[in-house]
Structure formats: C-alpha cells, structure tokens
C-alpha cells in the first residue's frame, strides 16, 4: 500500500473509531436524562442544563478525533 492509501485509511479510522465512544456516551446521557425527567418532571430546567453540559463534554472527544483527522487529511 502506498503512503496516500495509508493516509486515507488513517483519516477514516481516526474519525470512525473516535466517534464510537462519544456516540455511546451521548446515547447514554440522553436515555438517563429521559429517565430522570420521567421520574421527576418538575426538575426539567436543571436536568436540561446538566444534560447539555454533559453532552458537550462527551462531544468534545469526537471533535478531537475530527481535528486529528482533518489535520491528517489537509496537511
């Protein structure tokens, strides 16, 4: 395999494998937030705030993978 093919493989693998963890995490955060909302509907605003924050933290990991793959691809 030449270096161009290896580079394409590295780009695809870095974003593909890097988004597995965050996707699982965001799904879990969402489901737990729904559960909490079902148990305790009057706490909606604070649940929403915390949920958005946790999703942002989980999403940051995917963004790091994305940045790595963009750097690999365009430099």
């Amino acid at each position: 395999m030449d270096s161009e093919g290896l580079k394409a493989l590295a780009v695809a693998l870095s974003i593909g494998l890097g988004s597995v963890g965050p996707a699982t995490a965001i799904g879990k955060i969402g489901s737990k937030a729904m559960e909490a909302l079902g148990r305790n509907p009057e706490a909606e605003s604070s649940i929403r705030t915390t949920m958005i924050l946790s999703i942002a933290f989980a999403e940051a990991v995917a963004i790091y993978a994305l940045v790595v793959s963009l750097i690999l691809m365009f430099t």
């Binding site: 705030t49 958005i52 963004i63 963009l70 750097i71 365009f74």
Partner: protein, 245 residues
C-alpha cells in the same frame, strides 16, 4: 473535489498586518454586533418601541433566566461577560452560513502565482479566533476567582502544601486549567469548521436542494455551540468564585 483549507488565508495587508478572510468576516460581525447594541440602547428610552427591540429583549431575558439557575444572585455581575460571549459567537457562527461566505473568491498573489481564495470565511472556522475567545474566558475565570476570594485564598486551590494528596490535587487543578483552553478552542473550531466542510462537500455531491437540511442543522449547531461556550464559562466561573474547604 473542492479545495478545503484548514487555515485562513490572508486577503490583503494593512501596514504589514495580514488581514485574513476570517478576520475580515469577524470585523463585519463585530460591526453588526455593535450596531445592534447601539440600536437596542437607543430604543430603551424611546416611548414607542419596535418589534426587533422586543425580540432582542426576549432573548436577553431567556438567557438571563437560564444563567440565573447556575449563578444565582451573582448573575447581575457576570451577565455582561457571558452574554457577550454568547451573542458574539452566535453572530459569528450564523455569519458563516450566509450565502456567499466561502463561495465568493478574490484573486491574490501568493508565492509569485495567482490563487483564488474566498473573501469571506466564518470567523470561528479559524483556530486563532476560537483560541483568543478561550484565552479570554479562562483568564477572566482566574481574574474573578482572585477578585472574589482574594489572592491567597484562590492560589491555595493550586498550591497546597498541607499534605501530599492535596499537593497532587493542586497539580491536577493546574493541568485542568490549561486543558480548559484547549478544549474550549478545539470544540468551537471543530464544530464550525466541520460544518463548513460538510456544507461544501454536500453542495459538491448534490448541487440542488440537498444542502438545505444541512443548513438547518448548522443553524442549530451554531446556536448550541454558542450556548455551550457561554454555559461552560458560567459553570467554571461559579466553581472559581465558590469558597472551597
């Protein structure tokens, strides 16, 4: 394939200072921001207010209520900071979605040959802008921590010689302050730049109508990222000004 550049290109220079296309768009966004602010402050004293005033006012009020649930009574003191972050990032993100941004090009000379670069590029699609915003945010967090707790009390969070465990916790705190800058900067840059790449690729693959749902998605992403930036700043501020034991 369309050409995608990870860094912003200089389009002209003023007295040796290179003005990149991202900086150019940022300046336009800042002027828009300023005009809205002046209009809003003029309308406050007017007897008959316009619909736009009420729209902006409604937005301020919702953001105020949202952050009040985190900061409590300190919101009066911190609202100018976090609201500026929110509105500036929001306007910049949405500016990058206007038609013509990224597609209107200008011919410039680079290394002796003529190249075509876009004249507008979303302000937050350049790492320098987001890094500057992240630095401002983290430095302001330290500043307010010192202001509210006093220098000695605040520095105790980082350098604590009372026992070995506290010392290592302090070292971890220092590392976490530095990583805040990186995560702020890369989160915003990654989201906005990925959105631009996505829109370019989709418009290249299917020229007609296919990018429409993606533009809606990007409007939402731009809003959420502005909210997340402001909200994380608020939460960290709240942690910095709280007395710890």
């Amino acid at each position: 394939m369309p050409e995608i550049n990870i860094k912003a290109e200089p389009i002209f220079s003023v007295f040796g200072l290179h003005i990149t296309n991202s900086l150019f768009t940022s300046i336009i966004a800042t002027v828009t921001f300023l005009l809205i602010a002046i209009y809003y402050s003029k309308q406050i004293t007017a007897s008959k207010k316009s619909g736009f005033f009420y729209f902006v006012h409604f937005m301020f009020k919702s953001i105020n209520d949202l952050f009040k649930s985190i900061l409590g009574d300190n919101i009066k003191f911190f609202l100018p900071l976090v609201l500026s972050f929110f509105l500036f990032i929001l306007i910049q993100n949405w500016f990058g979605l206007l038609p013509g941004v990224g597609s209107v090009t200008i011919a410039i000379k680079e290394y002796g040959k003529i190249v075509h670069v876009p004249i507008f590029r979303g302000g937050n699609a350049d790492l320098n802008t987001t890094l500057a915003l992240a630095l401002i945010s983290v430095v302001m967090i330290q500043f307010y921590g010192v202001k509210f707790l006093g220098f000695l009390q605040y520095i105790k969070k980082f350098i604590d010689l009372s026992n070995p465990i506290n010392f290592f916790v302090g070292v971890l705190e220092i590392i976490s302050e530095i990583s805040k800058v990186l995560s702020f900067a890369f989160r915003l840059f990654g989201n906005i730049f990925a959105g631009e790449v996505l829109l370019t690729i989709v418009a290249f693959l299917v020229p007609v109508l296919a990018s429409f749902p993606f533009i809606i998605l990007e409007l939402f992403v731009g809003f959420v990222q502005a909210l997340v930036f402001a909200m994380l700043t608020t939460v960290f501020l709240n942690g910095a000004i709280a007395k710890h034991h």
